[in-house]
Amino acid sequence: MNKIKCECGHINHEGTVLCESCGKPIKGNQHIDGNDKTKLLNMRYDGSARRSQTYNRTIIDKTWNFFSSVKVGVWLIVITLIASGIGTIYPQELHKQSSLPSSQFYELEYGLPGKIFYQLGFHNMYSSWWYITLLALIGISLVICSLDRYVPLRRALKNQRPKRNEVFIKRQRLFSESNKVSGEDKAQFINKLKKKGYKITEQDGHVLAEKNRFSRWGPYVNHIGLILILLAGILRLFPSIYFEDYLWVREGETALIPSTNEQYYIENEQFIYEVYDRHDERFQEALKNEEFDVPSNFQTNAIIYKVKEEVITGQEPELEEITRGEIRLNEPLSFDGITLYQQGTQLQSEYKTIDIVIRDENGQSIGNFVFDTDEDLRQYDIGSGYSVEILEYYPQFSVTEQGPSSSSKYPRNPALIFSLHSPDGDEERYFYLLEEVLPLAEDSNYDVEVASADLITASGLLVKRDRSLWLFGVGATIFMIGVVQGLYWHHRRIWIHPKEDKLLIAAHTNKNWFGLKKDIEQSIENTSITMVNDQQELDAQSKED
C-alpha cells in the first residue's frame, strides 16, 4: 500500500482526500470527493480513504465498489419498495379467502390483470425467490457500505488534531475571520462552548471543540440491528427454531396438539363467545346500524396436558396437567416454549349427538338411540329386542363422482346409514341427513325421527413455536438505539485557528446546521469575535444574483 505523508508529518493511507490529522487536501486526490471543482471541502467521512474510492482493479474491488455505493443501496430499496407495493394490488394467496384455486381465483375475480398478477407470481410476492434475493442484496449492501465507511471514518476522527491546516479551515461551510480578538474573548468563547458540552482540546493555541462524536456511529449500529433481523429471518427456516400448526378442538374434547411429537394435549373445557349488548348506552348509536351482533370476546378455557411416560403404541397415554388458562384474541397461552393463539371459531357448527327415536306403525315408541360423533360405537341396543347398526358414517357429507363421501373428519354435516333389526330378524335401512331421517325401503314399518340434535362449538387454535423471536427483538432494539443515536444527536466540531493577529473560526456538523450556528452565536455573545458566515448559503445567493 502506498502511504502518503502530509506536510504536518502524519502518514495517511492511500486514497486519503484530506489529511487525517491536519485536514490539508492531499494533492492528486481531490477529484475523488469533487473538491477540485468547489470552493468548500466535501466533508463526508472527513475525507478519509475509503476502499471503494481507492481501488477499482480486480473483480473483488468492483463487487465491493458496487455494494458500497449509496446509490446502489437506494436503488435496491426503491426496487423492493415498488415490488412490495405491487404485491398489495390484489390479495396475496395467503389472504385470498376463497376456496377457488389460485389459478382460477385471480382471473375470475379480477379479470385479465388478475391473471397476469397470478402468472407473474405476484400472488406469492413476498416469498418469491427474487424478492428474497432483493432483501439479501440489501443485507450485503448494508454490510459493505458500513465497513467501507466506518473503518476510515473512525481512523480519521481518532487521528484528527486541534491544529488544522489553514486551507481546511477556510474551506469549511461555516467560517469567519476576526481581527484582534483579546485573549479574554477567546477564553470566554471556549468556556461557553465547554458549558454547552463541547470537549475542548488545544494545541499551540489552536482549539478543537467537539461534541457528540458518538452520533456518527449511529448508522453503523442501526445497520447491525438490521442484519440481525435478516439473520433471524433465515433462522426461522429451521423447524427446530420455528414451526406453525393449526388445530380445531371442540368443547369438552381433549385433542392432541399437532407438531409436538405427540407430547402435548389440550382440553377445551368451554368456549365463550360474547357480543356487545345492543342497548348499551355508549354504543347504541353505532350498533343500531350493524346488521349482525358485534362480538366482544372469543375465549377458550383450556387445560394443557403433557404425556407422562413414553407412549406405548395402541395404549391410551397417561396425561398430566401442566397448565390451564383462558386463551383470548390478544391473550395467547404459552407453555414449554409453545404458544397457542385463539384464531378461529365455528359457533354451534359441529354435531355432538343426534338422538333418534323409533316408533311403530301406531305411533308407540319402541325406543331411541343417541349417536355420538365422538364415539366409535356401531351397535345400539334400543330395548324390546330391537337394535340399530350403523353402516356408514360421513362426518361432513358430500356427494362426488365416486358417490357419497366425507370432505372432512369434522362432523359439520353428518350423514348416517343405519339399519334397524327387529326381534323377528327383519332388517330395514334408513338414511339420516340434515336432521331428517329417510327410509331406504319403500314401505317402512316404522316411524323413525330425530328427537333432538346437540351442536357444539369448535375453537380454532394456532400452535406456534418461535425460538427466533429474541433475535428479532435484539435486532430491533439495536436498530432503534442506532437510529436514535444517529438522528437525535449531532456531531459538531468548531475549530479556533489563530493566525498572526487574526482569529479564524470554522465549524462543521453532519446535520442540523441551524443548531450549530445557534451554539456559536450564543457563545460569542459580547465578544469581538465575528459570527461565522454560511459560505454555502452565500454561494447560492451569489449564483442567484
Binding site: Q92, G111, E244, P295, M480, F514
Partner: protein, 393 residues
C-alpha cells in the same frame, strides 16, 4: 350536555381556532417586523388554544367510550390532525418558521374535515382491538406520521417559493396537481356535508360473489354499483354502472364519491384560475416571499430525522409485537403492514439520499411530497380499498 356532544363541540372549537390562526398567519404577511411578530404570536397562541380544545374533545370521547378513541376512521384521522398541530408547534418552536403554519393549519383542517365525513358514532372495540398495544401502537404511529408530514408542509413551501412561475414546466404542472388534490378534498367535504345535511340518500342492492348487499349513496348517482338494482323509487341516476373490476365492499359508491370529488375540485380550481388568471401556486407565491430556503430545507430534513425513528418504533416494531400477540405472527404481509414497510423504505431512502450531493433543496422537497402521498395512500386507499386486517370500512 352529555360527554359525546361536549366532545364534538370542543372539536368545533378547535377547528374554528385553527381557522382563525390560519387567517392571522396570512394577515401577518408583509407586516413590518415588530408588528409581524405580534401577529404571529397571537396566531401561535390561538393555535395552542385550538390544540388544547382538541385534546379536551379527545379526552371526553375517551371517557364516554371507555377506550382510547382511535378505533375507526373518524377517530384516527382527527387524532392524526391533533398530532399534526402538535408537530407543527414543535417544529415552530425550534425554527420559528411562521410560513409553515400557513400551509400546515389549512391542510390539517382539511384532514380533520375529511375524517368527519366518516361515521362518528362511538363504536365498541372488536376483540382484535382489545389490547394495550392499541394505545401505544396507533398513537405513536399517528404522531410519527404527523412529524413526517411536516416535511411535506415544508417541502410545499419550498416548492412554492423556488419554482419559477414565469414559464410553464413539469414542476409547475405537478405543483398544480398538488393544489388540485387539496381542492378535491375540499370539494369532497363540501359535497358530502351539504348533501348529508339535506338528507340525500339513494339505496341500491347489488350482487357480488353470489351474495346480495345493499349500499347507500349519499351523493347523486353518477355511477351505479356494478350489477345492481335501484331500491329508492324515483331517485335520479345516470344509469351508468361502475366498472366490474372494482371489487370490495361498496366499490361503486366509493367510485361515485371519488368522481364527484374530482369534479368538484375541478370546479373550484377552475373558478379560482379564471378569476386570478394565474396558476394557484403563482398566486400564493408572494405570501412566502421572505422565506429562508436553507432553513426550510433544514426543516424538511429535520422532521424526517425526528419522525423516522418514531415511525420505526410505533408503526413497525410495536405493530409487530401486537401482531405477534394477537395473531401469533409479528409480520403477515397484510396490505397495511406492507405499506408501512414501503413508507419506512421510502424515508430510509430519503435519509440516504441526503448523503448524496445534489439531493438537497428542491429534490428533497419533491421527495417530501411523495412521502406524504404514501402516508395518505396508506391511511385512505389501504383502509378503504385494499381490504385487509386493518380495513375500517
Amino acid at each position: 350536555m352529555d360527554l359525546p356532544t361536549l366532545s364534538s363541540n370542543f372539536l368545533y372549537v378547535a377547528f374554528i381556532a385553527y381557522l382563525i390562526a390560519s387567517i392571522i398567519f396570512w394577515a401577518s404577511i408583509g407586516k413590518r417586523k415588530e408588528k409581524n411578530s405580534k401577529w404571529v404570536n397571537t396566531g401561535i397562541i390561538i393555535t395552542i388554544i385550538g390544540l388544547i380544545a382538541q385534546i379536551v374533545s379527545f379526552i371526553f370521547r375517551w371517557i364516554a367510550s371507555g377506550h382510547i378513541p382511535v378505533g375507526n376512521m373518524f377517530e384516527f384521522i382527527s387524532f392524526f390532525g391533533m398530532c399534526l398541530v402538535f408537530a407543527f408547534l414543535v417544529l415552530y418552536f425550534i425554527y420559528k418558521e411562521t410560513t409553515l403554519g400557513l400551509v400546515a393549519l389549512p391542510i390539517t383542517m382539511l384532514i380533520i374535515g375529511y375524517g368527519s365525513m366518516f361515521p362518528r358514532e362511538i363504536s365498541p372495540l372488536v376483540p382484535s382491538l382489545q389490547s394495550h398495544w392499541l394505545y401505544i401502537h396507533v398513537t405513536l404511529a399517528a404522531l410519527a406520521e404527523a412529524i413526517l408530514a411536516i416535511s411535506f408542509f415544508a417541502g410545499l413551501v419550498y416548492l412554492i417559493v423556488k419554482i419559477d412561475q414565469s414559464r410553464r414546466s413539469q414542476q409547475t404542472f405537478w405543483l398544480e396537481v398538488i393544489m388540485y388534490s387539496i381542492f378535491s378534498t375540499l370539494a369532497f367535504i363540501i359535497l358530502v356535508s351539504s348533501f348529508g345535511a339535506a338528507g340525500y340518500n339513494v339505496e341500491f342492492s347489488y350482487e357480488q360473489n353470489g351474495e346480495t348487499f345493499t349500499t347507500e349513496y349519499e351523493l347523486p348517482v353518477l355511477f351505479e354499483p356494478n350489477n345492481s338494482t335501484l331500491l329508492t323509487e324515483g331517485a335520479f341516476t345516470t344509469g351508468i354502472e361502475a366498472p366490474g373490476w372494482m371489487q370490495g365492499a361498496d366499490a361503486g359508491r366509493k367510485f361515485n364519491t371519488l368522481v364527484w370529488s374530482l369534479l368538484g375540485g375541478l370546479v373550484i380550481y377552475g373558478l379560482i384560475r379564471l378569476i386570478t388568471r394565474k396558476r394557484i401556486a403563482h398566486s400564493i407565491q408572494p405570501w412566502f416571499k421572505r422565506v429562508n430556503l436553507d432553513r426550510i430545507d433544514e426543516i424538511i430534513y429535520r422532521s424526517v430525522a425526528i419522525g423516522f425513528p418514531l415511525f420505526t418504533l410505533g408503526a413497525l416494531i410495536f405493530a409487530a409485537i401486537w401482531a405477534q400477540q394477537a395473531w401469533g405472527r409479528f409480520w403477515g404481509w397484510d396490505p397495511k403492514e406492507v405499506w408501512a414497510l414501503i413508507t419506512w423504505f421510502f424515508y430510509a431512502a430519503f435519509l440516504h439520499l441526503r448523503l448524496t450531493r445534489g439531493w438537497h433543496g428542491e429534490k428533497s422537497a419533491w421527495l417530501a411530497v411523495i412521502g406524504f402521498a404514501i402516508i395518505m395512500f396508506n391511511l385512505i386507499v389501504v383502509n378503504l380499498v385494499l381490504a385487509g386486517l386493518h380495513s375500517y370500512a
